[in-house]
Amino acid sequence: MACVAFGYVLMGVKWPVGSNVAYYVNANSTKVTDELAAVQSAAGTWSSVNPAGFRLTYQGSTAVTSYGRNSLNTICWENQGASSTLATTYTWFWGSTILENDIVFNDAQSWSTAGNDYDVETVALHEMGHVVGLDHSSTGIMMPYYEGIQRSLDSDARAGFIALYGGSGGGGGAKTDFPPSISITSPAPGANVSGTVTFAATASDDVGVDRVEFFVNSALAAKDPSPPYQYAWDTSSILNASYTLKAVAYDTIGQTAQAQITVFVIPHAPRNFSGVKKNNSSTLLEQYINVLTWEAHDKNQNIQGYRLYLQSGANGNLLQEFDAQTFTFLHKNVDKNKTYSYVLKAFDGSNREGDAAVLDVK
């Protein structure tokens, strides 16, 4: 540890300057339901000090329920018993460089985001101070005891941050309007999507977020001036392909922050999937056939073929696979009195199956 005159204490380890540290949250508290927003707000507070020097970016949810070295910075709630510990930050480092931080909130404590009990955002702000590289100090947010709600950084904490990652306004200096922070909460990075997709982001700013703009492949798709910041992205009439989704947050003086992910619009369902039962019996031998036909979707590209599944209860069994030029199938020897449920999907060159066309043939 290195003590400095400002009243902050450094742990002696830190993230490289310029780091954009991704973190994942398992919002599994049994005491509150909106803990994710509180955690994101705390992360936004630290990130706003000097985003170019260090920032925390929410990358999505995680299923982890405790700490552990897995190269992911995770935050979760775990029942650690009725001790006095509110939360713990675990740090893995090499030399003086932090490699990973996990924060575990003690779910046995009484948590709140409404001002009573232990305030999630306050404790998150404290624990993230450890993530930044600050140790406990005798004043401000980094005090080792909970002393009520504090959702903004005190001058010592800010000074400690600036000492580690640069920036202005340290030492309890004048108020500065810092840039906003933003992260995309839906869809998940790399997700396969179809239909109408909720493109959502969380944004925060020390003064206020003016709006969030949503871009699809660099084209402005929507603006949302108020939370929850989201846009209903209709993928039903666009080509199945990879798309870059970008969300840009603007604060009240035009400062921006952006987050970007890539998703894939899966192949659309084949059009006009239809079927009829036909009698193909000869004079003495009975045979009924379900004649199935479909058409290609004009917004599909790189289709390698189609897969036909026969539903049996809740399960679907692959009945037949076709090439991309086949648009009919004779399902022979079907029971003339039975209803058959079919699911047809196109798949592309990456073997990515698309939306289902569903059909019942009586």
């Binding site: 036909k278 009698n279 193909n280 019996s281 000869s282 004079t283 003495l284 031998l285 009975e286 045979q287 056939i289 004649v291 004779l330 020897n333």
Partner: protein
């Protein structure tokens, strides 16, 4: 194909017999006939898939008392068609045997007759769905006339009606129908 050879051989024998007994005056005690038939099936699916068509056959008659003959007949019908939806090839073969009693009036050189009795149909249908084969009982009725040309040589025209209701698997069908035939033969 074998049946065709058999019928052709039978026809040859009849013609040889004709030449041998041409000078004899027939007593209409025994007769042989062979020739072609044209089959009109009763069953709708048989008609729609295979249609009407030619067959082959022959018969033997033996006088037992005054206007009464004992009578045995055999016919062969084989035809190819297509399944109704997939148009895949299908084939059916029907071999019928029947017999019984026939009532015949003869005013030489013309004879007319009417007969009937039990019959048996041996069938086989094969196509991509599978194979159905078996035997089914039924009956046959026949109405006809023949004209003695010279000696014992006759030309015969007859109409048959048969019915064979079978159900080899799940479908019940009548493999009979009407037949029109023209035959040549010899009476002794």
């Amino acid at each position: 194909m074998n049946m065709k050879k058999i019928l052709f051989s039978a026809l040859t024998i009849v013609l040889a017999a004709c030449s041998l007994f041409a000078q004899l005056s027939p007593a209409h005690i025994f007769s042989l006939k062979a020739g072609a038939t044209y089959f009109y099936p009763s069953e709708q699916s048989l008609k729609s898939i295979y249609g009407n068509g030619p067959g082959w056959g022959g018969e033997i008659n033996l006088k037992i008392w005054r206007f009464i003959d004992l009578w045995m007949i055999g016919n062969f019908f084989d035809k190819k068609g297509n399944l109704p939806y997939t148009k895949e090839p299908t084939e059916i073969s029907l071999i019928t045997f029947g017999g019984g009693v026939k009532f015949r009036l003869t005013t030489d050189p013309l004879s007319i007759y009417l007969g009937g009795g039990p019959a048996l149909c041996s069938y086989k249908e094969s196509n991509p769905i599978g194979v159905a084969r078996g035997n089914g009982p039924g009956f046959i009725g026949q109405l006809g006339l023949y004209f003695r040309i010279v000696g014992g040589l006759i030309i015969d025209i007859a109409a048959d009606y048969t019915s064979f209701k079978v159900k080899p698997k799940t479908i019940k069908a009548d493999l009979g129908g009407a037949k029109a035939g023209i035959r040549i033969g010899y009476v002794f």
